[in-house]
């Protein structure tokens, strides 16, 4: 496969996964923010910090204004991290790899792009149908995931797509978890009520699983276990890393080179670190360094992956 094509498939998937994450987090936050009884002093700061690169002063001007924030997160073409820009980039990558994706996958990306580029899209944020609009985007994003799964041939292209998808997902989980635990000073010993973990769990589609799986009121620890170590939860760090490992193996099987061996070794170290960490060893004082070092290792792995397979310039 052409290096450029592999790169495009990798980034198509990363951008589409980012689309999904951004939509889930934004709609969860928006819906919860409507319930002032529960979220009395809730602002958009955490979402803006995670999903945009805006400076602190701009965040301060936006955080209490839902409609301005939604514009910045969803439709602002001047923001490099808005949904509109992300989907445009996904589409550019899809176009660059159009001969390697199925017609159905292309049509889904294209349909979402055109939906976001409807002339009245900005107006709709100011109206009551903002939830409806986000739901529609989310449906398209889910449809893309399903269509890709059902129609894409399994092979190198599929493996690179999934590497992009799960690297993006894992990074997103690490940043979101860090942001939510930072809000409680990484205090794992206190017992916050479940309602305070709703936003994180909804953002990762894990609320129902939590209710079904975890018993007791040690929510701070239980939620952490779920989002980091629960291998049955598709939005956990360990699940994402396990998928990366699988697709990395598939790619490396077809590419025997010293670079591939080094990549496998480094990723093995990262995966083992998470897999064989005893969750009870994570304490209030080492949670932040754990999250940070995992994120840095993953970023380094992603860079090496690019150098090994996508260096075509």
């Amino acid at each position: 496969m052409l290096s450029r094509t592999a790169d495009s498939l990798f980034w198509l998937s990363r951008y589409m996964e980012r689309t999904d994450g951004l939509l889930r987090a934004t709609s969860s936050h928006y819906i919860l923010s409507l319930d002032s009884m529960v979220m009395g002093n809730m602002t958009w700061r955490s979402v803006l910090e995670v999903f945009t690169t805006l400076p602190n002063d701009e965040i301060a001007t936006l955080e209490h204004n839902s409609f301005a924030t939604l514009h910045a997160l969803l439709t602002d073409v001047n923001s490099q991290s808005s949904l509109k820009v992300i989907v445009t980039r996904a589409r550019e990558n899809a176009r660059g790899a159009q001969d390697h994706i199925t017609k159905e996958v292309w049509e889904e990306v294209n349909a979402l792009y055109h939906l976001l580029n409807q002339s009245n899209i900005s107006d709709r944020q100011g109206e009551q149908d903002v939830i409806k609009m986000m739901l529609l985007f989310t449906q398209h994003s889910l449809l893309y995931t399903g269509v890709a799964d059902v129609t894409m041939p399994r092979g190198l292209g599929w493996s690179f797509m999934n590497l992009g998808k799960f690297i993006e997902r894992c990074l997103e989980i690490l940043v979101l978890v860090d942001k939510h635990y930072e809000a409680i000073n990484y205090n794992l010993n206190e017992e916050n009520v479940i309602i305070q973990w709703k936003e994180l769990l909804f953002s990762l589609s894990g609320y129902e699983l939590h209710l079904k799986t975890y018993r007791g009121s040690r929510y701070n620890r239980n939620v952490l276990h779920q989002v980091l170590f629960n291998e049955d939860f598709p939005h956990s760090v360990l699940y994402s890393l396990s998928r990366i490992q699988k697709y990395l193996e598939d790619v490396v099987t077809e590419h025997h080179s010293p670079g591939s061996a080094e990549l496998t070794r480094r990723f093995g170290a990262l995966w083992s670190k998470v897999k064989y960490t005893d969750p009870t060893d994570i304490k209030s004082d080492n949670l932040k360094p754990f999250l940070e070092s995992t994120k840095q290792d993953l970023l380094q792995f992603s860079t090496r992956l690019g150098q090994n397979f996508f260096s075509y310039q």
Binding site: M1, L2, S3, E107, A111, E254
Partner: protein, 483 residues
């Protein structure tokens, strides 16, 4: 609410112009079946089909880029849902005419880049060839596989008021539009499944496979499993949709210049597994940008050194480099003479009368009769640089005239021909619009093959004769039917 029957009755055939559906108010035989089926539909149903067609094109991203449009870079190629019908009998003449023409043009290219007998015998003036910007000395004497230069061509035809087809121009470099021909057919099948199935339309959808087979045959015979690629300028090119469509349909890699590298006179593509040799390149990049070491040094679209691999015969490039000399609009006037010279035959399809503006007498005649003329640049396509004498203001004409006088070799003129009209469904009504016709021909070691159909381009503006997509034109499906 008016029924389609009423709308069809209201359709007025323009006088003095050949209408594809009507002959002095009566419906032509080959349109009878379509018309009688339409009479059973109502207007909202047809509008619904029109809407569906638009959605299909939009969702599939069947778009093209307009360079001079500041509003946005992508546009859907407008599609009119009413198919154009040509009889099998008429098609057979077109097919024979194009085959004959391509045979002569291939022989011309071989000759002009080797012995130049046609120039020595003064059939074509030497200065006409030498002054052609697309005549490339760099490819002189290069042996191409099977002596084929024009593998893929799109010959533009028009139908005059006498009902005969005429050749308007030859496109022998990187003709585009074939994907629209194929997609138009797919969309028509979706919106008119019953009418289509009952109409005995000749099949066109094997074009990509035919093309792929020709490309495979161009690789050296000692290579058992040649690698074929399609070279595109990239995702921002106006015809990128077509490039990706063809690559997908043929199952070949779609590469950009930056994906290729030349080493030891061989072309390789950069893959995740290292370098892999490429044997055949179907390029959709103009000659000028192909190799910055030989042609335009500023080109970032091409591949440095690719000419050396081509010269050594290590890679086949399709179409051959330097074909522009044969589809130059001034050389076009000499194609009938080529047919006579190389094949000793009379042309089956006639040219449109063409005046070379480098000839002082012809120039004076054209200037005097400009209101009846269209002036074209010899090296431009897509309708750019065209002067319609019947629609130009005095000020614009003076400006254009000055430009022509500065470099008359770069211009030709032709009398304005009233292209034939076809019914189009526009704003809920059937209304006549002018069309041309571009069939696509493939030339391989086994001869010339033309898929029975082509792209009918429509001038969507009322009365307009300019059909180019970049100038507000659209397209429609073209049915070759055996009655």
């Amino acid at each position: 609410m008016s029924s389609l029957e009423t709308l069809l009755k209201e359709y007025t055939c323009p006088s003095g112009i050949w209408d594809e559906m009507c002959d002095e108010g009566a419906i032509r035989n080959h349109y009878q079946k379509l018309v009688s089926t339409f009479q059973q539909l109502d207007v909202p149903a047809l509008q619904q089909k029109d809407l569906l067609a638009g959605e299909l094109f939009m969702n599939q991203g069947i778009t093209f880029t307009v360079y001079s449009d500041n509003k946005g870079i992508e546009r859907i190629f407008p599609f009119d849902i009413i198919p154009r019908i040509i009889t099998g009998k008429e098609w057979d003449i077109v097919e024979r005419g194009i085959k004959q023409r391509l045979k002569a043009l291939n022989l011309f290219l071989k000759d002009v880049y080797n012995d130049q007998q046609i120039v020595k015998e003064n059939i074509i003036p030497a200065n006409l060839v030498a002054s052609c910007p697309h005549y490339l000395r760099e490819v002189h004497g290069i042996k191409v596989p099977h002596d084929i230069y024009v593998h893929i061509s799109g010959i533009d035809l028009i139908r005059g008021d006498d009902g005969n087809f005429y050749i308007l121009e030859d496109n022998l470099r990187t003709p585009s539009g074939v994907s629209y021909m194929l997609e138009n057919r797919e969309v028509t099948k979706r919106i008119f499944p019953d009418i289509f199935a009952a109409s005995n339309v000749r099949v066109i959808n094997d074009y990509p496979l035919k093309l792929y087979n020709i490309l495979l045959q161009l690789a050296s015979t000692h290579i058992s499993n040649p690698t074929v690629v399609l070279l595109t300028p990239g995702i921002y090119n106006s015809a990128y949709y077509e490039h990706s469509f063809l690559a997908r349909q043929m199952g070949v890699s779609l590469v950009e210049g930056r994906d290729l590298v030349v080493d030891d006179h061989k072309v390789y593509m950069k893959t995740t597994n290292g370098l892999e040799q490429v044997h055949v390149i179907y390029r959709r990049i103009d000659d000028e940008y192909l190799d910055p070491l030989v042609f335009n040094p500023k080109s970032v679209l091409g591949v440095p050194g690719i000419m050396s691999a081509y010269r050594k015969g290590n890679v086949a490039i399709v179409n051959a480099i330097g074909n522009g000399v044969a589809d130059d609009k001034a050389v076009y006037a000499y194609v009938p003479a080529m047919i006579k010279y190389y094949l000793n035959e009379e042309p089956i399809l006639q040219n449109v009368n063409t005046y070379e503006l480098s000839e002082p007498d012809a120039r004076a005649y054209v200037f005097e009769n400009i209101h009846r003329m269209v002036v074209k640049r010899t090296n431009q396509s897509g309708g750019y640089g065209m002067v319609m004498g019947n629609a130009i203001s005095e000020e614009e004409w003076q400006k254009a005239k000055a430009e022509i006088e500065k470099d008359p070799r770069s211009f030709i003129a032709q009398p304005i021909i009233k292209l034939s009209t076809v019914p189009c469904f526009i704003n809920g009504r059937f209304t006549p619009r002018h069309v041309d016709f571009r069939p696509y021909a493939l030339c391989g070691p086994d001869g010339v093959e033309i898929v029975p159909g082509g792209l009918t381009r429509v001038a969507l503006k009322e009365g307009s004769l300019v059909v180019n997509s970049s100038q507000g034109g659209g397209s429609k499906d073209t049915w070759i039917v055996d009655l």
